[in-house]
């Protein structure tokens, strides 16, 4: 019994180290970081990149399990959900955030994202510090994961200037392993 017990303990320890020791799990998507932009390291399953700082412009690509609850709405994304319904939940989540003001959706249309059916939201909002952000938000559900690609800029000038760069990042986005 004893050797078997110790084998179990070692196996469990190995499993635990796989789960925690390696930091965040590997991303299941790829995207190119544009020249002159820097990728900011985070503990979440996301890529965050900016050229002049997050308050000027940013591209945020994130994957999140569908089971992960949202912070402000109790609604849940579901596998096989229509893109329009998913877009509605995302808009509801942002609208329910008390740090976000003057939230206004300017576009909500179906979109193809790396060959997947999804949605494209365009919206503006003012954050708690009074910064006005203009954002493009693409999202789609694949299996049990929700992927989203966001481009945000605090001023129209920055938004327009880096829009083409974002489009390049968007085009480079691809899934490397389906969950």
């Amino acid at each position: 019994m004893k050797p078997r017990f110790w084998i179990c303990v070692i196996l469990l320890a190995l499993l635990a180290s796989c789960a925690h020791g390696g930091g965040k799990p590997p991303l299941t998507f790829n995207a190119a970081v544009p020249e002159g932009w820097k990728q900011i390291a985070t503990d979440d399953t996301m890529m965050f990149m900016t050229k002049d700082g997050g308050y000027k412009q940013f591209v945020l690509i994130r994957e999140r399990p569908l089971a992960e609850p949202f912070q402000f709405t109790n609604k849940r994304l579901q596998p096989g959900m229509l893109p329009e319904a998913a877009a509605q939940i995302i808009a509801n989540e942002i609208l329910a955030d008390s740090n976000i003001h003057n939230f206004s959706v300017t576009e909500n249309i179906p979109a193809r994202i790396a060959g997947n059916s999804g949605f494209k939201l365009a919206f503006v909002y003012t954050d708690a510090d009074g910064y006005i952000f203009k954002t493009l938000y693409y999202g789609f559900i694949k299996g049990d994961t929700f992927y989203n690609i966001r481009y945000g800029a605090s001023e129209e000038e920055y938004f327009q200037k880096d829009l083409k760069t974002f489009e390049e990042v968007f085009k480079s986005f691809n899934l490397v392993a389906a969950k």
Partner: protein, 393 residues
């Protein structure tokens, strides 16, 4: 909003620290033994501090909340305030109501006469007398200058952040009982004062209600209705104490308010509240508001559409047939409303009935050719056509 939020968390403590410093300076000026030489001067400084605090709190609320605007309801509330006001408002106060779009069961007042009411609380009221008691209670806080009395009772050496917390919540109506905040108060004496001020506001408020010829028994139903929303059974003692104080004369005939008329004033608010609750996925509350709306307005097409939306989006067992039934009701009451047509189309599409779905999507497009969601409807139509062509082959 991950990017910008990273910076926000760093900025806030600085702002809070600055406010605390300013408040400490104000408090330092107002404490006896510093620059204050007479009680009259201290009173003036306290009043100034209250004005400062009132502006600060109201600005903070404006930053973090959404003011709810509904002109008809606001006019009705103003008329009620005039009816309830015993005499002229005290100097420096202008009684007025500010509605906050929020699901909370909360109302509070400020020394300048502003009475803040959360739409979630209003959506629970069933008659005008209940609303009158709510307003009268807050008016009693204003006319009795309760905030000043709380401020005067705070020891001069109290940590200003604790004082700040106490003041901001001191005038809460129902929320106080739901979320005990006794720990936030520096002393039992202050807690006791606060409780006695709430009781005083209850008594004075009920007196205002009776003088304004509302039925006090009908008014006291507010506690039962708020308990239903709270689900914790709070407020029973308060209602019982007020009931005991009533005399048989107070229930003179002819005082009962017209519930249908009150329901009319709340229709738009119930619709908007149901939408708010739906956005936040608070299904039970969303259903309560929408059901109440169609109960009060049985031919309210948007109310039936919203009921359908709540059930379709919740998508629990048995929800879809009910949702479909509500959508059809909405179409009956207002055939020109595009939303129900689209929603019926979505249900049929999901059930594989492409031909039926197609006709409803076409209706939706025809009814609102420039709607913001037409790109989606066209994509659903394409799916229908592909399916129909597949069936025909």
């Amino acid at each position: 909003m991950a990017g910008p939020n990273c910076a926000k968390t760093i900025k806030r403590p600085k702002a809070v620290f600055a406010v605390v410093i300013v408040l400490c300076l104000c408090w330092g000026c107002s404490s006896p033994g510093a620059t204050v030489s007479s009680s009259g001067t201290r009173g003036e400084r306290m009043t100034q501090l209250l004005i400062f605090e009132t502006h600060r709190e109201q600005s903070a609320i404006a930053r973090r909340s959404t003011v709810y605007r509904e002109p008809h309801l606001e006019q009705h509330l103003e008329r009620m305030l005039v009816r309830l006001m015993p005499t002229k408002a005290p100097e420096g106060t202008i009684p007025r109501v500010v509605l906050i779009s929020d699901h909370g069961l909360n109302a509070y007042s400020f020394p300048d006469g502003a009475i803040y009411i959360h739409t979630g609380l209003l959506s629970h009221l069933e008659n005008e007398a209940e609303l009158a008691l709510l307003l009268a209670h807050e008016l009693a806080h204003v006319t009795g200058r309760h905030a000043l009395r709380v401020l005067a009772a705070i020891p001069a050496d109290t940590d200003v952040t604790v004082f700040d917390r106490a003041l901001s919540d001191s005038m809460s109506w129902f929320h106080d009982m739901v979320a005990p905040k006794e720990l936030a108060y520096p002393s039992e004496r202050l807690s006791s004062l606060r409780r006695s001020l709430e009781q005083e506001a209850d008594r004075v408020g009920l007196d205002m209600v009776i003088k304004a010829i509302y039925d006090p028994y009908e008014a006291l139903e507010i506690f039962g209705h708020l308990r239903e929303g709270d689900g914790k059974g709070t407020g029973a003692d308060r209602a019982a104490a007020l009931l005991e104080a009533l005399t048989p004369i107070d229930s003179a005939p002819g005082r009962l308010t017209d519930r249908r008329s009150f329901g009319k004033h709340l229709q738009q608010l119930l619709l908007d509240q149901a939408r708010l609750e739906l956005r936040q996925g608070r299904w039970h509350e969303a259903l309560r508001c929408a059901r109440r709306l169609v109960r009060d307005a049985p031919s309210h097409a948007s109310g039936y559409f919203l009921l359908g939306e709540i059930l379709r989006q919740r998508n629990e067992a048995g929800d879809t047939p009910q949702a479909l039934s509500h959508y059809f009701q909405a179409v009956v009451f207002d055939p020109s409303l595009p939303g129900p047509h689209k929603a019926i189309g979505l249900i049929y599409l999901e059930q594989g009935q492409a031909r039926l779905a197609k006709s409803f999507f076409e209706n939706a497009l025809a009814l609102a050719p420039h709607s913001h969601d037409n790109e989606y409807i066209r994509s659903y139509l394409t799916q229908c056509i592909i399916k129909i062509e597949g069936e025909d082959l």
